[in-house]
């Protein structure tokens, strides 16, 4: 091992952090990322106002028949439920779509703009670059989820009463514990998106067109979501990455019901392992021509 090698090794973590930081800043500086975050922040406001108008005359949301999206009927009890309702509303499409755009753009976008080869000239190595790209996509998962949650919390606090929280099981917990559960829910939702982030990154390494990668990722998401609702295909559904997404609601039960959430985490880990390594295999062996 040469001296230069040991030197590179020892600065690996610091350099990677720097790489990750610059990746994240690049992602967050894009206008399209900001627009996506603005849309995500707007959803809770929209839901909040709609529920407020509907229940303004004393009626109950969701028509009282148990219809409507998850948690919507409970928002009038406590503004905190707007966090859960908004996450339940954005998780099926809005959030993963945003992730798909960012992840799909990660490698293919650089290739498209002709900047990928310059990135590779830097003494970072392909694996490290890919890891930094994936880390920045994961950070975006967390940021996107937190934007929804915080926007929902603010809207909920402004439009609805806050206070002790009645959980789904009918048990009442203090507001502080409700807040803690909301934070946990946000983290679980962010973790639920790691699968599609890895999938998007893999697709991004396949093509040189950023638009194609984004469209493929989002198209795949929509297809999988539709397959997940067809009862005749129930045999494959437990292996589809969105299948257990709404299991985050189990955190709002008392006692917390972990079974489905565990399945969710295992499934996401599987997708990350398979598509993450596939992205790595592809990215580290392909010819970079642009």
């Amino acid at each position: 091992m040469s001296q230069a090698d040991t030197l590179t090794r020892s600065v690996w973590p610091i350099r990677s952090l720097g790489l990750f930081r610059s990746e994240l800043v690049t992602v967050l500086r894009r206008w399209r990322t900001l627009a996506l975050l603005a849309v995500l922040a707007g959803v809770p406001v929209l839901i909040g106002i709609a529920v407020r108008i509907e229940t303004g005359d004393g009626g109950s949301a969701g028509g009282g028949g148990g219809g409507g999206p998850a948690f919507v009927a409970l928002i009038t009890n406590n503004g905190l439920f707007l966090v859960f309702a908004s996450l339940a509303a954005t998780l099926p499409f809005f959030l993963p779509m945003a992730i798909g755009v960012v992840a799909g753009d990660a490698v293919a976008g650089e290739a498209n703009a002709g900047t990928l080869r310059y990135l590779l000239v830097a003494p970072a190595g392909r694996t490290r670059l890919l890891v930094s790209k994936y880390a920045s996509v994961l950070a975006f998962c967390l940021i996107g989820t937190l934007v929804v949650a915080v926007s929902a919390l603010v809207t909920g606090a402004l439009l609805f009463p806050l206070g002790d929280v009645t959980l789904l099981s009918g048990t009442t917990v203090p507001f502080s514990e409700g807040l803690l559960r909301a934070l946990l829910v946000a983290l679980v939702v962010a973790a639920s998106l790691t699968g599609i982030a890895a999938l998007g990154l893999f697709i991004s390494t396949l093509t040189n067109s950023g638009i194609a990668a984004m469209a493929t990722t989002v198209g795949l998401l929509i297809t999988v979501q539709i397959v997940d609702t067809i009862p005749q295909l129930h045999a494959v559904q437990p292996y589809l990455f969105p299948h257990y997404w709404l299991s985050f609601a189990d955190l709002v039960r008392d006692p917390v019901y972990w079974d489905e959430m565990r399945s969710n985490f295992q499934l996401q880990a599987l997708y990350v392992a398979v598509f993450g390594s596939a992205a790595w295999a592809r990215f580290t062996t392909r010819d970079i021509l642009a």
Partner: protein, 423 residues
Amino acid sequence: MAPIQPMDDDREPRRRAKAIRYAVPVAAAGVAAATIGLVPALASVGSPDLPKITAEELIAKVAASDTQTISGSVRISTDFGLPALLTGATGAGGPFGGGGGGGRGDSSADPKEQLTELLAGSHTLRVAADGPQRQKVSIVRNAAEYSLIHNGDEVWAYDSGSNQAYHLTGLPQEAQGKDGAKGGHEVPEGWPATPQEAAKKILDAADDSSTVTVDGTARIAGRDAYQLVVTPKATDSTVGSIRIGVDAGTGVPLKFTLAPRGGGKAIVDVAFTKVDFSRPAASTFDFTPPKGAEVTTEKAGEKAGEKADAKAEREAREEFGDLGGPDALEGLDVLGKGWDSIAELKLPPEALNESPSKGGEKAPGLGGQGLLGTFGKEVKGDFGTGTVVSTRLVNALITDSGKVYVGTVTQDALIKAADAAAR
């Protein structure tokens, strides 16, 4: 400086390196597939090594069980083969909703309307009990839950999906006592004094109709359990066997499976997937309706009776199943005995002639031949003609002369019974 292109120009090693790298995701997928395939297989293997026990000792153990506190998750799967028309209508005003669009069935948190959904499909329940005074059962739904909480002299039901609550107050003392069946040992009058005596009595009673054996051991919800199997001797019965998993330590039944004679999927399968015998937190049984919830309040009265029935029915399904057969019903004839018994009743003449579309009449079962024809099939015999409505467990024959034969027996047995009665 790192090279822009991955490796040297030599083609052959590069291709090999590429293949090796692509093997990683394939291996990951393979390992996952193997895990998915093997883990359930491994989990169901293993019958714990427990001391041998006779059926009598096991029943005595169940009867002697003094477990008062329990909590856990229960998986309930039912496949009665009910006509879709009946099970599809589990919403408000379902087949057992009673008053149809009538006055007091309004609250969708009413237990009568909510519990019918358990008659078909698979559901996860979460149960908690602390003595005869406090129990809680919740049906876990997607991002919602329906909870039934009994605490002292009141019962709350809360449906978080629709944010509606149902409150039943002033439960009389004796009703509370009977509600405590979950604890497993409320003693009705005339019940034998000791568990051993009870076991003997049960076995004696079952002797000429069923075979009761202990069929090995199993792991249920992570606990060692004995398996008690009740097999009807009667050949006309639709019941193949009843299998009860009894916890070896506490004597609490943990699993109940009712298998049809014809084979195939179990008709009823109720099992703990997780169980804990420590005392549940007291807050589990407290309920304060949230501010925005709609609350329907009722005083116990005639209502309490119905509620207790619903609960008793559920308990029976959860704990033992109805070994007694249909003898509890009054005002009708019971033909035969044991598993082969068939209930015979007469319909009031207007019930058959009534137009099914008559306003407010929602009970589809007796709505007239036109409606019956949609999920029954016509049969002929010495008794004349009739319609057989069949499910996987219960079959019913409604003759054109207004007689109904119902039992957990095959269709042929029903026709035979009708023929015999007609002679």
